[in-house]
Every structure is written in structure tokens, then in C-alpha cells.
Symmetry: C2
Subunit: 407 residues, 2 copies
């Protein structure tokens, strides 16, 4: 069977690829002068000059920074990403609340709306999104509105397993419905995968190109980043760390989740909106931390054996202190476990907390349109199931440029 077919390279694809590469380098390293870009990409100074001129003209890069002098020769003019270069919508559907955000090119949240509920219903959420987007767009100038690239949805998979009142989700295509209603390209991914993508794209810490990510919320999930790209997997179920098998015939989400903590506690926990503490009884807190750390360390160690990852990030929708304690406890457990032949990874807390999912949702169109490494010619399996994208491969770059950069 064919397996995948890596893209053939053409001059058109080349320009797009090199543009993305340059923007990605600036995103990672902060503002960079053209000379440094030439160095980093291996391209000639002339090529970088041409590409950056176009990107500046397109409003994606900003050359207004301070010239940096101090060394011999002409001073450096660092190029920065322009925050208004592109805007993205993110919709997060959670167990208790939905969030709709407008995010800029640098990951800044420009607007935010929330919809609390007892349990999520597809029709209500569709309505919330449509009205919310209209309101958000209403507050934008025409020129900014034109820079909206699309919407991403972060939502748990297998929603219908939460109970019979979730039945309406089965077979429901929220993505297609919103794409239709909004007239915008819409992406949809697992919420934990989105959180992982947000950490990679907007997170504060300098992250390596490969890492594993856990996101502990009402349920537990995760994501994997390989070669600097979020890996979704052939059936978009990669990073399903909640389903990871652990000793005792259980899975991670049977132990390490806020819903389990609530069950132990016997009452629902408040959303950590203001990051205030949950005031858990010490013994109960300890018990949950111990058990959770045990399963997380087991899963992390397994993933590292398979993928040789130098870093594991743990984040979640919980108070920072609790999350940090979980990280510490997991690190301890991991070091104590038998790990012959494995280099223990660094363990680190995420930097985005409960915002991660909505930010990651908004990052989906960004990833698709502005990141190097294949998206420009790769099929988009999730985009919609029955797409007949057997049109001439050549027209892809074109079509995508239109939706992507809006030039």
C-alpha cells in the first residue's frame, strides 16, 4: 500500500515553504534581522531580502523595530511578527463551559466570551458561536476583519460516552455546521491536542522540537509534538494519553483527572478562574496526587521509551499550586521507577493553564496556514470527511494562499 506520499517540490511550493520557515523562526526566536534569517535558513541574503519584503508588504512582518548597533558594520534591523498580521477564532467546548476567543498572530487574546452550562449541547453551542463571532467581528475594523484566517474548535472526543444526555453529539458535525454558518474555514481537534499545540506555539518556555504533553482537566488527555509539529495521527487520535493503559487494568483517565478528584471529594470543584485554591483536605489531596503521579509517570516513561523524548510537560485546568505539586510528584515517581535503558526526560509544568485549550483551538488555522513542514501540500484529513480533494495537486498552493494569508 502506498503509505504517505511526501510532497513533490515546485517553485511555488518553495516560496510558500520558505515564507513559513522564516515566520516560524521569528516566532521561536523573537525578532530577527535578515542576516540571521539567512544564516538560520541556509538561504542567500538576497532570497531572504526578497521574501521578507513580500511578507512586510503583506502585513505579516514588522520592520519598525529599533536598529541594533554596537558591532562593526551596518546595524541590524530586527524583523518582528506583526500582531495584527493574522487573527484567529478559537472555540473551546468543555464539560462546564464553552469559550470563544479572538487571538492575534502572537497568541494574544483580543476578545473572549464564555457560555456556562450543566452539560454541553451541540445546538446551543452552535448558536453561541455564531452569535459570538458576529459580535466579535462587529467590534473589528474592516481591515482587521479581513485578516481573520479561520476558526478552530477544541473539543473532547467521544463526548457521547459521558452519559445519555450527550447522545445528540453522536454523529453531529459541529465543524461542518459552523463552517457553513460562518463562511470561514473551520478546523476541529481533540481539546487536549489543542492545548498541546498552544503550548508549542504560544508557550513561554523554550521548548524542544519533541515533547510529550499531558492535559488534566475534567478528563485527562494529551498530545505529542515531534519535529516541532503537533502529531495528530492517521485517525487523529494521537496523544490520547487519557486512554493510556496503566497497571491494574486501568487507564490514565480512571485515576488522573479532575472528575476523579471531584468524585473523591463528593462535590464539584469551582472553575479555577482566578486561580484561587481549591482548599482540598490534605489527606485527600495527597492521595489523589500520589495515584495520579503513579499513572502519569508510568505513561510518560512508556512514551519516552517509544519516542525518546527529552521533555514531558504537564498542564491542566487546576490551580497552579496543585499542578506544580503534580509535576513534582510525577518526577519523583519516574526517577524511582525502573527505567533501565531510558534517559529520564525533564518534567515541566505548562505555562498556559486553563487558557491552553481555547488558545490551541485558535492555533489550528495558524498551524495550517503559517507553519512550515508540509501543511501546504498535505491533505487535511480532519477538515471534512467526504472532501473530494482529488483536484490537481498544483492548485493547492494557490487556493490555500487565499484562505491563508489573505493577500
Amino acid at each position: 500500500m502506498p503509505g504517505i506520499t511526501p510532497p513533490a517540490w515546485t517553485p511555488q511550493g518553495a516560496r510558500s515553504q520558505n515564507e513559513r520557515l522564516i515566520m516560524w523562526l521569528i516566532r521561536r526566536n523573537g525578532p530577527m534581522p535578515r542576516a540571521a534569517l539567512a544564516q538560520a535558513t541556509g538561504l542567500s541574503a538576497q532570497a531572504v531580502s526578497n521574501i521578507t519584503r513580500e511578507l512586510i508588504a503583506a502585513g505579516l512582518l514588522d520592520a519598525e523595530g529599533e536598529r541594533r548597533r554596537g558591532k562593526v558594520g551596518q546595524p541590524l534591523l530586527p524583523l518582528a511578527l506583526k500582531p495584527e498580521g493574522a487573527l484567529f477564532l478559537g472555540l473551546k467546548v468543555g464539560r462546564r463551559v464553552a469559550e470563544l476567543v479572538l487571538v492575534d498572530f502572537l497568541g494574544g487574546i483580543r476578545q473572549m466570551r464564555t457560555l456556562p452550562y450543566d452539560f454541553p449541547q451541540p445546538d446551543r453551542i452552535h448558536e453561541f458561536a455564531v452569535q459570538g463571532v458576529a459580535a466579535i467581528l462587529g467590534e473589528l475594523t474592516d481591515s482587521l476583519r479581513a485578516r481573520l484566517s479561520g476558526m478552530g474548535i477544541a473539543i473532547p472526543f467521544y463526548l457521547w460516552d459521558w452519559g445519555h444526555e450527550m447522545a445528540p453529539w453522536r454523529g453531529r458535525d459541529l465543524r461542518a455546521g459552523l463552517e457553513q454558518a460562518l463562511g470561514l474555514p473551520v478546523w476541529l481537534e481533540n481539546d487536549a491536542s489543542c492545548a498541546c499545540g498552544a503550548e508549542m506555539m504560544f508557550g513561554a518556555g523554550g521548548l524542544p522540537a519533541d515533547f510529550l504533553y499531558f492535559y488534566i482537566a475534567h478528563f485527562a488527555g494529551g498530545g505529542v509534538v515531534l519535529d516541532g509539529r503537533l502529531r495528530l495521527g492517521p485517525s487523529r487520535n494521537a496523544g490520547a494519553m487519557g486512554s493510556y493503559p496503566v497497571p491494574g487494568g486501568q487507564q490514565v483517565l480512571d485515576v488522573a483527572s479532575v472528575s476523579v478528584l471531584e468524585a473523591m471529594l463528593g462535590r464539584p470543584l469551582p472553575l479555577p478562574l482566578e486561580d484561587r485554591q481549591w482548599q482540598l483536605p490534605a489527606a485527600l489531596r495527597r492521595e489523589w496526587l500520589d495515584k495520579s503521579a503513579a499513572v502519569l509517570s508510568h505513561a510518560a516513561l512508556g512514551a519516552v521509551a517509544v519516542l525518546d523524548l527529552p521533555l514531558v510537560v504537564i498542564d491542566g485546568a487546576m490551580p497552579d499550586a496543585l499542578r506544580d505539586a503534580l509535576v513534582a510528584a510525577t518526577a519523583e515517581r519516574m526517577a524511582a521507577a525502573r527505567h533501565h535503558g531510558i534517559t529520564l526526560p525533564e518534567l515541566r509544568a505548562g505555562t498556559l493553564g486553563r487558557r491552553a485549550r481555547a488558545l490551541g483551538a485558535a492555533a489550528l488555522p495558524l498551524d495550517e496556514g503559517f507553519l512550515p513542514g508540509g501543511a501546504f501540500s498535505a491533505p487535511r484529513p480532519g477538515r471534512n470527511g467526504n472532501e473530494t480533494r482529488e483536484t490537481p495537486p498544483r492548485s493547492r498552493g494557490q487556493a490555500e494562499r487565499k484562505t491563508g494569508h489573505g493577500r
Copy 2:
């Protein structure tokens, strides 16, 4: 931190990439006519025509096949990989025996030499390789000798943990020594990773672009293939399935390995050279199979949760019947385990058996020089020794390779 930097596009890089892509498609699908290649790559017929003309002139493709008629229009002229297009050396270092093979472009073993021993010693193996290569080269014509692309070494990591007589391996850089002595580029990877690469490159079954691979020999190991490429990991320790943690505080290799079977049996097992049976007592065979299947299924399920893999391949240096029984037992275990939220992968036996490691070693230079997807910026040892077009677009490949392996 920078993370990885995907390659920038350059005209030269493009041609190299597209050449590799075409050869890879033919390797996967068998002989293909130019029209089908144009279709599959998305390139124009003209581009395919130009590229294939060069590849035929370089001796890598063969246009001598039968024209296929039967449809309206001009008959198809399928292009095949030329077996003598490139030759590779593979050196496998095992617990009991070393093997040196000469492999052709299609994975055919042209020559083979073996060195049995009680335990492997670096100096003796170095000597065996140097003399063996000299002898092998002596039997080749000049024109074939010029097509030798390099050597790959398949060797277990952490050899020194096998016992105190293995101490000389610590810090020993077999790769550098042989590269020096042979004047050829030499690669070195974990033996199980090599076996996995061989299955991907030369295996009989049509494999998907992503799969997990176990190789059960004296010890247990494995590999991961993602997007059609063997994943080695940042510190080249990916696919370390032997070190995968399983319930009971153990790792896979504590249970599922031939050395454990020998320990249970109380005597060493013969090499399954002729694939004859090992005549194990039924109860003991059953016990080993049960325990091994338990840990393999646990590890496979975890890897699938992380990576969303549609296939798991199990192979090993053991009689086919035993391997097949292991596959069946593992599949049964996996289906019985709790796997909520995970799509069970297909389970399948490998097709190369004990040859896999040596073949995979030889596949290392092939992978580096002839596969699409990133290696293109590295020099191509195969084409011809003193080619001038190798003005380094970037010396990155070089440097990276040199630091390659001491670990």
C-alpha cells in the same frame, strides 16, 4: 530554543527531493510508468520525463521492461529500480554471531559472511569487518565497486550491561573506527531499529506509513515508523521497546526475550538458522508465550494511545511458528485489555525474521541517500564518488553525520 529547522527550499534541493520521491514510489509500488509517476507525485509529465532520464542515465532506474499494452493509447513503459543501482554493506553484531552482508538496491543479499563467538569483542569484530569487506569487494567488478554507498552497523545499545567481559565496548566508537579503516561512510544504529527499517524498506507486506515494530531476539527491542520514515529520536533511542515499562515494575525485556526463554529452559537455544523448531516443552512454551504476550500487548496498546498507529509488527530471531504463536497470543491479549478510546491496531508478523537486522544495517546508507523527506541536504555517497555537483548547499548533513555515533 530553536527546535529543529526544516530545510529551506532551493532548486538543487528540489531536484534531489523529487528524484528520491520517484525512486521511493517505485520501491513501494513496483515498476511504474512515467504517467503514473506524474499522477502520484503531482509533477508534470515533462518534469517526470526529465528526472527519470537522469536517473536512468545514472544507472538507478531501468527502462528495459516490457511495454504494457491492452488499453487504448500508447502502451505503458514501466520503470523499475535497477538492482545494481546501488550496493550497501550491512554489519550486524549479535550476542552469538556477527554477520556481514552485501545488499543490492532492491534488498537482495548478494554476499554474506558470519563470525560466531561466545561473546562479541570490538577488536575482533572490527577485524572481521575489515577483512570481510576486502574479500567482498575483491569479488566485485570495478563498476559495481564504484556503486557501493556505504556501510551500516546494527548493534544493541548498552552492550556493556551484558556483563563485565563487555567492558571494552564502553566508550568504544566502532563506527568511527570502521569509517576510518574502510574509507567509506558508516552509519550505526540500534539493532532492533535496523530490523524495523528493513521491514519498512524491504519487507514483503504492504505496510502503512505508520507502525510499531517489536524485534524479539536474545534481548527485545523495537522501532517506530512515522510518516514512512524510521524514527530514531533526538538521542537515537526511539523505539526502545525493550525498556518499555510494564505492570509489576518490570520492563518488556525482563519477560519477552529469547534470553528469558533460555533461562526458563536451563540451556541455550540453537540459532534458528534453518528455521527448524526449538522443540520446547509445551508447558514452558505456553508460559513464555502467555507472559510475553501480556507485556507486548501492554506496550503496544500504550504506543498506540500515544501515536494512533494502525499496525503493530512483531518479528524476531526465532522459528516462524513460535513467532506466529506470539503474534496470535498478543492480539488476543490486546483485544481483552481495557482499551476504551483506542482503536485496536492490526497485529502482524514480520516477514524478514533473523535476516532483518543485517538487512536493516545495510538499509541505513540507503535511507540516508535515497529516501525522500529531509536527508536531501546530506551528500549522496551513492551516485558517484567524485561528483562535482556536491558543492555543499549546507555542510549541516556532514557535521551532523560526523558527530554521529559514539554513544
